[in-house]
């Protein structure tokens, strides 16, 4: 049962990813990416990470991809021309992808002691996840949040540069 579901959603995931590359229209690519994200969420669920699955759907499929489609719609991006691609990129790209995948697989398998994971109905509850997150992994967690904060500040700084005094500008539109 779990194996059937795994192959079904892994298939969806791969089909979405390939479709993402083959489509020439940006909005179709964005929608394929949503399919990839949602199928990944189902795979997480089958590994017992229910909180991660829900967060994946809410954050990636629900918020980030909405912004993607929003930008595509706002800029009214048209169909892209298909190019043949450069020979150098093809010569270096495919071996590089294979090398990176092999490296990642080795590292992950080594961490698991060369054994597979078990698909099943066991569930890691949200409480357990948060306990680990706020005790053992507290430092990386907080460092990540600071990193995100820096990214937000950087985005705000970039967005307001060149438009004069940002707060006065905002007040004027609000009070109009």
């Amino acid at each position: 049962m779990h194996l059937i579901l795994f192959f079904l959603f892994a298939g969806f995931c791969l089909a979405g990813a390939i479709n993402l590359l083959l489509q020439s229209h940006p909005i179709n690519s964005a929608l394929s990416l949503i399919v990839v994200m949602v199928s990944l969420a189902v795979l997480y669920l089958m590994l017992g990470a229910e909180f991660l699955a829900a967060a994946q759907v809410i954050v990636y499929a629900g918020a980030i991809m909405v912004l993607f489609t929003f930008v595509v719609m706002l800029l009214n991006a048209g169909r892209e021309d298909r190019t043949r691609g450069s020979k150098a990129a093809r010569a270096v790209g495919f071996p590089a992808v294979v090398a990176i995948l092999a490296m990642l697989a080795t590292v992950v398998l080594q961490a698991q002691g060369w054994s597979g994971v078990i698909l099943g109905s066991h569930i890691t509850s949200t409480e357990e996840v948060s306990k680990v997150l706020f005790t053992e992994l507290l430092l990386p967690f907080e460092v990540t949040s600071v990193l995100v904060l820096i990214a937000i500040l950087g985005a705000v700084a970039l967005a307001t540069r060149g438009s004069g005094n940002p707060t006065a500008n905002g007040e004027r539109t609000a009070g109009k």
């Binding site: 909005i27 229910e50 829900a54 629900g62 918020a63 539109t173």
Partner: protein, 354 residues
């Protein structure tokens, strides 16, 4: 319980809930037309059947019989996908909502695990599932506007995407206080945490979550594109907004999705803030001995609470004028978000030092 029994039982529950939900959507439309009529000093629909009670059926038949035309300029795959996505998401999220107690009968005659009544599936992260499905539902509106190839539709869907992304944050944060109090994301556990002392243990009163309830209310109006935040379909500016180019049943599907979302939001508000299916008097009333009465009394309270929430929705629509777009964004980011974070801080401090 074998897999076959489980599948059959689930299918039965899905069928019953879907039928009830669709009837609920149809009659919510009637309720809105009636109440708004009363607010505006007129009768509302009263020609078809007694008190206009058959009006939804006639409306449904009408939208089936209308010509279903597809404009030439549309991008067809997404144009056809959008209403299905909208209505699908609106109907899916009701699947994790519990309507009543699982144990039916005095002393729990039918225990949990055997046959669970009154809920299609009991998920540990039920609250997050509802939020996730709602956030996928945005694509229905966004794609409808984009694929229609019409400037009014596009403006409507752009407004809708921006509005939903902004208010989803406030909505999610306003629920954290409730989750902190219950210590779980399971909707059933959240209701049971406010079951014992009636109205005094409901999150909105006894739990001091009225600020969160207010934020949830505002954000929910924005999430369901309802007045006073109905900018994506503002008739005076955008003709019909994102569904300008849709006709017949496809238009009706967007309409049904909107009302379905209203009902779901009402159910979630009932479960999280108003004590779900528990009675306002708590344990003061002894549990009835008859098994049917014991099963139906919680349902009665649940339906009453959702019904009053829907009436509130309509009342607000009949009373408040529409926000302007910059007012909407300011309100969401400068008021609701900080207030929601304040609520989380105060609630967690109170829980830590009580």
């Amino acid at each position: 319980m074998t897999i076959l029994q489980f599948v059959l039982w689930s299918l039965l529950k899905v069928a019953v809930v879907t039928v009830v939900m669709l009837m609920g959507i149809a009659y919510t439309v009637l309720l809105e037309r009636k109440l708004v009529g009363r607010i505006q000093n007129r009768y509302g629909p009263n020609r078809v059947g007694p008190f206009g009670l058959l009006q939804p059926l006639v409306d449904g038949a009408k939208s089936f019989l209308k010509e279903d035309l597809i404009p030439t300029g549309v991008y067809k795959p997404l144009y056809l996908l959008a209403p299905i996505l909208s209505l699908g998401c609106a109907l899916i999220s009701i699947g994790v909502v519990p309507f009543g107690e699982t144990t039916v009968g005095p002393g729990g005659l039918v225990k949990q695990g055997a046959l669970s009544f009154f809920q299609i599936s009991d998920v540990n992260v039920g609250l997050l599932v509802i939020l996730g499905v709602t956030s996928i539902g945005v694509y229905g509106i966004a794609l409808a506007g984009w694929s229609s190839n019409n400037k009014y539709s596009l403006l409507g869907s752009l407004r809708s995407s921006a509005q939903l992304v902004s208010y989803e944050l406030a909505l999610g944060l306003s629920l954290v206080g409730v989750v902190l109090r219950a210590g779980s994301l399971n909707l059933r556990v959240i209701v049971e945490s406010q079951a014992h002392h009636g109205i005094a243990s409901w999150n909105i009163f006894g739990g001091f979550q009225f600020l969160a309830f207010f934020i949830y209310l505002m954000a929910a109006y924005a999430e369901t594109n309802r007045s006073p935040f109905d900018l994506p379909e503002a008739e005076s500016e955008l003709t019909g907004g994102y569904h300008t180019e849709y006709s017949s049943m496809k238009f009706a599907m967007f309409f049904m999705a909107e009302y379905g979302n209203m009902i779901t939001v009402g159910c979630v508000a009932t479960l999280l803030f108003l004590g779900g299916w528990t009675s306002p008097l708590g344990d003061l009333i002894p549990a009835p001995q008859n098994i049917f009465v014991h099963a139906l009394v919680p349902m009665f309270w649940f339906v009453i609470k959702v019904f009053s929430f829907l009436c509130l929705y309509v009342w607000v629509r009949g009373t408040l004028p529409r926000f302007r777009y910059d007012q909407l964004m300011n309100f969401g980011w400068r008021w609701l978000m900080p207030l929601a974070i304040l609520n989380i801080v105060v609630t967690s401090l109170w829980l830590a030092y009580r």
